[in-house]
C-alpha cells in the first residue's frame, strides 16, 4: 500500500518539496483567495479533489497520449473536472458556489495542476499519482490556510468570521490593518513563510 516511494510522494510536498514554497507553483490563487480563511479552506479542498483525480486520469491514459498534443489533453481533462465541480456546486450548494464564483475557474490555471501532471502523472502509475495529487494538494492547502489565517486575523480581526480581537483593544486605539487585505500583503506574508521555512531547512537556501 504505502511503500517508501509512495510515502515520499504523499509526504514530501508537505514541507521539503512544498508546491508553493519550493516549486513556486500556484501563486496566483494564493493571492486571490486568502483574504478570509473560509474560502481558502474550500478552495484547498477543491484543489485537492481536482488534482488527485486529474493525476489519476492522466496517469491511466499516459501511454496513449501523443506527446505533441499532451498539453491540450491535460488541460481538457483538468477543465472538464473543474467544470463538473462548478456545475455540482451550483446545483447542490449554491451558497458556497456564490462565494467561490471566480476562484473555481482559477483552479484551471493553477500551475500546480499542470506542473504535477507534467512532472509526475505522465511517468507514474495511477496509485502513486493519486498520492502525489493528495500530497501536493495538502501542501498547497497548508500554505493557503496559514496565509489566510494571518491576513484575516490582522486585516479584519476575525478568524473564520468570529471576532477574536477583543473590543477593548479597539477601545484603546487598536485598528485593523487595512493593508493586509490588499493582494501585495499576501506576497509579503508568503515571503515571511519562505523565510521561516528556509531558516529551518538550510538545504533549500539559494545562493544567488
Amino acid at each position: 500500500m504505502l511503500s517508501k516511494k509512495n510515502k515520499e510522494a504523499l509526504f514530501n510536498p508537505l514541507s521539503k518539496d512544498n508546491p508553493v514554497l519550493v516549486q513556486i507553483l500556484g501563486i496566483c490563487s494564493t493571492l486571490a483567495v486568502t483574504v478570509k480563511l473560509e474560502p481558502a479552506i474550500v478552495m484547498g479542498i477543491s484543489v485537492i479533489a481536482v488534482l488527485a483525480f486529474s493525476n489519476v486520469i492522466i496517469s491511466l491514459i499516459r501511454n496513449t497520449i501523443p506527446s505533441t498534443i499532451r498539453i491540450i489533453v491535460q488541460l481538457v481533462v483538468v477543465a472538464a473536472l473543474v467544470i463538473i465541480v462548478q456545475q455540482f456546486l451550483v446545483a447542490f450548494n449554491y451558497e458556497v458556489s456564490k462565494q467561490l464564483s471566480v476562484f473555481i475557474g482559477l483552479i484551471i490555471t493553477n500551475c500546480i495542476l499542470m506542473g504535477r501532471l507534467e512532472a509526475f502523472a505522465l511517468t507514474n502509475k495511477p496509485w502513486p499519482s493519486f498520492l502525489d495529487g493528495i500530497g501536493n494538494g495538502l501542501g498547497y492547502t497548508i500554505i493557503l490556510v496559514v496565509v489566510a489565517f494571518f491576513r484575516e486575523l490582522l486585516g479584519s480581526g476575525t478568524v473564520l468570521g468570529f471576532k477574536v480581537i477583543p473590543q477593548w483593544c479597539y477601545d484603546h486605539g487598536y485598528e485593523d490593518n487595512g493593508l493586509m487585505i490588499l493582494p501585495p500583503m499576501a506576497l509579503i506574508t508568503v515571503a515571511c513563510i519562505v523565510w521561516f521555512h528556509r531558516a529551518r531547512n538550510t538545504e533549500l537556501q539559494e545562493t544567488n
Binding site: I65, S67, A80, F88, A91, Y94
Partner: protein, 239 residues
C-alpha cells in the same frame, strides 16, 4: 500504431473532444433544473432582503416570495404600465436591459405587500471597481422614502468594496428620501463626514472603497432616475 502519426493525433483529439463534450453536456442537462431553481430562489431572496423579509431556510423562499410579492409591473419611461403579466418584472435580465438604449429599456417594478403597506421594489444594476454590482431598492408607497435596500457584487475586494453586501451599509438607506422639493435627487454616497452639495439625502461611503461606493451611488442615479414619472404618479395618487 505510431503515436506520433498525424492520423493518430487527430483521431485521439477527436475522440477526446466527443467524449468530454458528451459527458459535460449530459451533466449540464441533468443538473440544469436544480441550478435554475437555485438561481431563481437566490434572486427571490435578494428581493425579499430589500423588504427585510429574507429567509435563511431555502425551502421556504418560494412560499415567502408568494406571500409578499403580489404583482409584477413593467412601466415605460413615461410612467405608464406596459405589462403586468406574472413574472414580467422578475424575469427581466438587468444586465441585458441596461445595455439597451434608454428609450427601449423595460422598467421593472415588483409590487410588494408588507403588513398591509405597499412597497415598490426596483432592481438596480451598475459597475463597481472590478465587476458588476447590483441590488434591489424598496420604495414606500409615497414614491419617495426608501424602505430598504439590498446590494450585491460579483468580485469586489473582500473586506473593502465587498462590504456593500453587508447589512450595516445597506441599513443606512432606510428612511432616506429620493426627492427634495419635488425634484429627483437620488441618495448620494459620500465620504464619511462630508455632505453632498446639491442638498440630496446621503449615506456614508465605505472607507477604503471609494470607487465601489461611488458605483453604488451612480447605479442608483442611473437606474432610479428613469422611474421619475412613475414615482411622480404614485406621489400624486397619495397626496
Amino acid at each position: 500504431m505510431n503515436k506520433n502519426s498525424n492520423t493518430y493525433q487527430i483521431l485521439y483529439a477527436a475522440v477526446m473532444v466527443v467524449l468530454v463534450g458528451a459527458m459535460l453536456a449530459f451533466i449540464y442537462m441533468a443538473l440544469k433544473p436544480r441550478q435554475e431553481q437555485n438561481i431563481a430562489n437566490d434572486k427571490r431572496n435578494q428581493i425579499l432582503s430589500a423588504i427585510h423579509q429574507a429567509t435563511a431556510n431555502e425551502s421556504e423562499i418560494p412560499a415567502t416570495y408568494q406571500k409578499f410579492v403580489v404583482k409584477d409591473l413593467c412601466v415605460d419611461a413615461k410612467g405608464a404600465v406596459v405589462d403586468s403579466a406574472a413574472g414580467c418584472a422578475f424575469n427581466v435580465d438587468m444586465k441585458k436591459n441596461m445595455k439597451l438604449p434608454e428609450a427601449e429599456r423595460k422598467l421593472p417594478v415588483l409590487v410588494c405587500d408588507v403588513e398591509g403597506q405597499t412597497k415598490y421594489v426596483i432592481p438596480v444594476y451598475g459597475a463597481g471597481l472590478w465587476g458588476p454590482i447590483w441590488g434591489y431598492v424598496a420604495v414606500n408607497d409615497d414614491g419617495n422614502t426608501i424602505f430598504g435596500a439590498y446590494f450585491s457584487h460579483e468580485s469586489e475586494t473582500p473586506g473593502l468594496g465587498a462590504r456593500i453586501a453587508d447589512a450595516d451599509f445597506q441599513d443606512q438607506f432606510k428612511d432616506k428620501v429620493l426627492y427634495k422639493e419635488g425634484a429627483f435627487k437620488n441618495v448620494t454616497v459620500v465620504k464619511k463626514g462630508q455632505t453632498p452639495n446639491d442638498g440630496s439625502d446621503y449615506v456614508d461611503a465605505i472607507s477604503g472603497a471609494t470607487i465601489t461606493s461611488r458605483g453604488v451611488g451612480a447605479m442608483m442615479q442611473q437606474c432610479m432616475a428613469a422611474y421619475d414619472p412613475f414615482f411622480k404618479s404614485i406621489q400624486s395618487r397619495t397626496e
